[in-house]
Amino acid sequence: MRILGIFFYATIVALIGITLIIFALNRLNPQDITEIMIIMQESLSSRLIIGLSGALLILISFSVAQLILGRFQREKTIAFSTASGEVTIALSAVEDLIRRLAGIIPEIKELRPNVVATKKGILVDIRVVLKAAANIPEITSRLQEIARSKIQEVLGIEEQIIIRIHVTKIISLEDRNRKKKETGKDDDEPTIPFSGYSRT
């Protein structure tokens, strides 16, 4: 059924493509198209066929979309079985977990993880933005250690965890000050004493 759906969908898309090419090569006059449309609209049976074809196309589109999404979802999970059934963990959940690690190490400004489950084990790609004062080898090895132990602790898996870190940017103090000025927030701005009080 699924193969039939994909085949049908591909045929329809190919037919649309061929029609567009014929139209571009000037082999099809707009008048001919209008005449065909008029003939089709005049007959009740042809209108019924067109309507049903439309409904069928919508159904096939949904089934193809579901097929693609289903496959995509299956690839993006880690699964294990228990006595009561199966437990699947979305890789986005593991990404959430790693994202939370940014708060543990103060030298990390931003952290973007990407988790992939491969035959070798779990592959974690982390893109980080560091603060200027940070010692990169020390911070990155600490992050690798923390991420590995946290994943093992929380997921309870014994599979190999490969953690790759990519430092994308180092934010200097000047950058941070410029950003503060752009956003209009300046911590050094003097405050007016008792400005929050008013007469009632």
Partner: protein, 118 residues
């Protein structure tokens, strides 16, 4: 949506799939470490249109009247996922067996995300 049906001398007793899903949802939320039931694309859509969360739970009953359940959950940060998932499965099995006398075949737990506890 069909449900489980049993017959006695007075008539039939039907348990709707929504009831099984509701019990599943409540049993899952009782476990320490479960932030909420849902977290997938479908539950996000249902949340937008204000539908009940148990709609995201998939309940299937086969010809042998065995129940198969799929429940998506979001776990609180800091909890061990397999531990929480096991407890969820146990809690759902106990609650359903106690309240409905149904035969539970599988309880599949899908962990969709990790969030800070509310």
């Amino acid at each position: 949506m069909h449900g489980e049906e049993s017959r006695n001398e007075l008539g039939t007793i039907k348990i709707h799939k929504n009831v099984i899903a509701s019990i599943t949802s409540l049993a899952a939320q009782e476990i320490d470490g479960v932030n909420r039931v849902g977290g997938d694309f479908k539950s996000g859509l249902l949340k937008l249109i204000n539908r009940r969360q148990h709609w995201v739970i998939k309940v299937e009953i086969n010809k042998n009247e065995e129940v198969h359940i799929e429940v998506p959950i979001v776990i609180k940060y800091g909890f061990n996922i397999p531990d929480v998932a096991n407890k969820v499965q146990e809690s759902i099995r106990n609650s359903l067996e106690k309240m409905t006398n149904l035969s539970i075949k599988d309880i599949d737990v899908n962990v969709q995300g990790i969030e800070r506890g509310q």
